[in-house]
């Protein structure tokens, strides 16, 4: 299944200048792994050593995944993930 990732301009450099990316995945965790394969070093940018989302916010169709099931949050075809620097959330 395909999930669309939306990225704000300031994080485009993480994604080789693109404002969107696509992943084939069934969970946010798999999405992070997929993004790591596409963009080396991405995993460390998105999650910390404890496998927690701490430096960015990841939204599934608008909702913070930390308020859902975190990295275990299931994804379905057509879902959209938006990534934002953590500090922008305040």
């Amino acid at each position: 299944m395909t999930v669309l990732i939306r990225i704000p301009g300031s994080l485009k450099r993480w994604f080789n200048g693109s404002e969107t990316a696509e992943c084939e995945c069934f969970s946010v965790k798999e999405c992070v792994e997929d993004l790591e394969e596409q963009f080396s070093g991405m995993k460390d940018r998105l999650i910390d050593a404890n496998n927690e989302v701490t430096s960015v916010m990841i939204f599934l169709n608008g909702d913070n995944v930390l308020k859902l099931d975190g990295l275990e949050t299931s994804l379905k075809d057509g879902d959209e993930l938006s990534i934002m620097p953590l500090a922008a959330g305040g």
């Binding site: 301009g9 701490t54 916010m57 608008g62 934002m84 500090a87």
Partner: protein, 174 residues
Amino acid sequence: MIIDKPESKFIFIFNRMTATYGNSYTVHNDRPLTNSEVLKSWGKCLILGTRPWLDDLAKKLDSYVEEEIIPCVKYDREPSKNLGIEECVMMAYCHIERREEIWRIFSKFGSDYKAWVSEKETMELWEPGGPIMERWLNTTNFDKETKEKIRDNARQRFDYLENHPNDIFKPLAQ
């Protein structure tokens, strides 16, 4: 009505009744919300952009705020680079039941980005020990006493909201 006061970190869009008479904008179904209702159901749709792009967007959103389709908008005067943000953040405040409408308006003007942060989440980010509060304090030159005073003020504000659930919500002056 765009309120742009240089002394404020933010530029606001309020409707004229709020800007002129201080009417509450935390309203849903024609009723001002209480503290507990705000913590449960109020929040903001976030988008990021350059200041010129957000200035242009603000002009387009002004009429939606005047018509009370969007209760309130605020955005950064400049990026919070001390917090690692290179763009300005725009926040369109609304009841959670209205957020899809806000996203449709954003989409109409070129942003399909969807990010919702509730007031409760904002509190968690800015409470003493919260990730943004502590990151921000670390970027300042405040002495230990001042930092603790800031934490105390935040704690008192959040405690008040939680301990007075039925009071009408009053936004923090910014």
